[in-house]
């Protein structure tokens, strides 16, 4: 921080009053909440700009990476999980499971750095501070976000794969799967229509729960790939001790967490008729 200049007690009092911190913390918190619900997140300590517009400007990119990562995680995790569960060959199962364990254990930032090193020579795949928004050019945008999303989604892909595998193994033992086989259905129909639909239920829960964490992962990864998302805003706010900004971002992430859980419950109800309350039992 260089040379430190001590502030006089008078100056401290003056600043506290200026930032509105001359009241007890609970009171300050209630007042802050009161403003937040009206859309006023306060001002940045560093730039003196209103916080909410800054966050909202960067939020779409972070949400896009998160969703992209979720899609990749599902697209990788579910088919591999099914394959691991159904393959009679124990070697396939072992290879898939070890890959899954690796995917779970590798730190995201390390994976991301490897990707940057490996693919930075390939034009357009690694963003180099030349971020193009989805609205400007969807294809270039998705190309650019592929590796960042993959880096974030790998861990979840591994988790989804393991849940799908275990759930699938369990469901394949169920009586209704035997009924489906006894009906003469093709194996593919038995697996997809009868087994997978049931096996996917716990996977939905896990995926939903972890989507919130993906958003957290975006914070680190946006920095590695130099993407102007909310994560980067958060990181700089932390470096600069810009507390009101940090507070605003944390609140938004928490809100997204709750929102994702709600969406998960709605999807769950759509898949499982037993959960739909409106129909009920007759």
């Amino acid at each position: 921080m260089g040379t430190q200049v001590e502030a006089t007690p008078e100056q401290m009092e003056e600043l506290k009053r200026l930032f509105g911190e001359d009241k007890p913390i609970p009171v300050l918190y209630i007042e802050w909440l009161g403003r937040v619900v009206q859309g006023d997140f306060g001002f940045s300590l560093r730039t003196s700009r209103p916080i909410l517009p800054d966050i909202l400007q960067r939020l779409p990119l972070s949400i896009e990476i998160t969703l992209f990562a979720l899609v990749l995680a599902l697209a990788l995790g579910i088919p591999l999980g099914i394959a691991a569960a159904l393959k009679q060959n124990p070697l396939t199962d072992i290879v898939i499971r070890i890959t899954g364990l690796l995917g779970l254990s590798l730190p995201q930032f390390w994976l991301a750095s490897l990707m940057v090193i490996a693919f930075s020579g390939v034009q357009g795949w690694i963003p180099m501070g030349n971020y193009i928004s989805f609205a400007a050019d969807p294809i270039k945008n998705l190309k650019m976000l592929f590796f960042p999303s993959l880096a974030i989604g790998t861990g979840l892909a591994a988790v989804i794969m393991r849940y799908t595998r275990n759930s699938m193994l369990e469901v394949m033992q169920q009586d209704y799967v035997r009924t489906a086989k006894a009906k003469g259905l093709k194996k593919r129909v038995v697996v997809i229509r009868h087994a997978l639909r049931n096996a996917i239920l716990p996977v939905i829960t896990v995926a939903g729960f972890n989507t919130g964490y993906l958003l957290g992962g975006a914070i680190v990864i946006e920095e590695v790939f130099a993407l102007p998302g909310m994560g980067r805003l958060a990181l700089y706010a932390i470096y600069q001790r810009d507390y009101p900004v940090i507070q605003g971002i944390v609140l938004l992430i928490a809100a997204m967490f709750v929102l994702v859980n709600l969406v998960t419950d709605l999807i769950y109800a759509a898949v499982d008729p037993r959960i739909r309350l409106d129909e009920g039992g007759r």
Partner: protein
């Protein structure tokens, strides 16, 4: 006599487990004629269900494995060839009903769709036609307000209704053979009677053959023509239902019949039960598996499994040294 529809010869099904190879079905032979209702009776774990799953090659492999024998359905061996050939027999010519209707239907799919699936597959119906036929079938097996209920999910049905749905599903494609694996075990007594009555009437109407698996001799007496008594993976006695109840031969069969409470017996008499418990199929003793529990056991019983001895008119036969000619001697 009606033509033979299904002929099972020396069927053996084993399970490879960590305790060794379990012979769940050991050298079983029987025949099923057109329109016949065959009962397969025995205690839990005697191989009844495995026998029937083996018929359609539905044994989970591994650990299960059909290690020998032939299953001739209309002259064609179902054990030869790849699974794809048997698949089209499943649900089409041979259909099954399972023991527990609560878990045998897919909880996430509508009832009508689960019935329609079989029709689309085996009868080549379009989706709409199959769904309409499904509702019709539900009506036929006695589901009130069938058209509306067809669009319900299994959890909205009671156990008895679900078993009716299973039956509707099984008979949807007019199978030649219906295999019913303890179809009434999980149901209330009043519902049991209804379900049995339904199966009986369906077999009469459609000249459908039935293999009824049960441990309930009351069920057998009510609807079966012929009975196979199973013990430890083997059929120990075969007889028509009248012969079996009138004159049981095998000591195990006698024991089973003596274990039924009788309304005409004195109320103070203690109910008979066969001493001991069924053997562990992973480590069967040599000779007859019933020997340790048998009050008529002889020296030879511990050495050799008795052969199948035919007595009187077919299908009457028994596997017991008491009736085998030759070294075992007679009573």
């Amino acid at each position: 006599m009606e033509e033979i529809l299904l002929e099972v010869n020396n069927l053996r099904t084993v399970f490879d487990t960590e305790y060794g190879t379990v012979k769940a079905v050991d050298d079983i032979s029987f025949t099923l004629r057109k329109g016949e209702v065959l009962g397969l009776v025995g205690e839990s774990g005697c191989g009844k269900s495995v026998t029937n799953l083996s018929l359609l090659r539905l044994i989970p492999e591994p650990p299960g494995r059909i290690s020998g024998g032939r299953i001739l359905f209309k002259g064609k061996d179902l054990l030869v060839g790849d699974e794809e050939e048997v698949r089209l027999v499943r649900g089409g010519s041979i259909a099954m009903i399972f023991q527990d209707p609560m878990t045998s239907l897919n909880p996430l799919l509508k009832i009508s769709l689960q019935i329609a699936e079989a029709l689309q597959l085996h009868r080549g119906m379009g989706r709409k036609e199959a769904l309409a036929k499904a509702a019709e079938l539900l009506k036929a097996i006695g589901i009130p307000d069938a058209e509306a209920r067809a669009n319900d999910y299994p959890h909205q049905f009671s156990g008895g209704m679900r078993q009716r749905v299973m039956i509707a599903m099984a008979i949807s494609c007019n199978p030649d053979i219906l295999i019913a694996d303890e179809p009434t075990t999980a149901l209330d007594v009043t519902i049991q009677a209804q379900i049995l009555e339904l199966i009986k009437s369906l077999s009469g109407e459609n000249t459908m053959s039935v293999i009824m698996i049960t441990h309930d001799l009351g069920v057998v007496a009510g609807i079966c023509d012929t009975i196979c008594v199973m013990y430890a993976g083997k059929i120990v006695e075969k007889a028509s239902v009248d012969d079996l109840f009138a004159q049981p031969l095998h000591p195990y069969t006698k024991g089973l019949l003596d274990s039924i409470p009788r309304i005409d017996a004195g109320s103070r008499k203690r109910l008979y039960s066969i001493p001991g418990s069924p053997p562990n199929l992973a480590s069967l003793p040599p000779g007859c598996p019933f020997r340790p529990r048998c009050d008529k056991a002889m020296e030879i019983c511990g050495r050799e499994m008795p052969p199948e001895t035919s007595l009187g008119d077919a299908p009457r036969s028994v596997r017991c040294w008491l009736y085998a000619s030759g070294e075992g001697g007679l009573e």
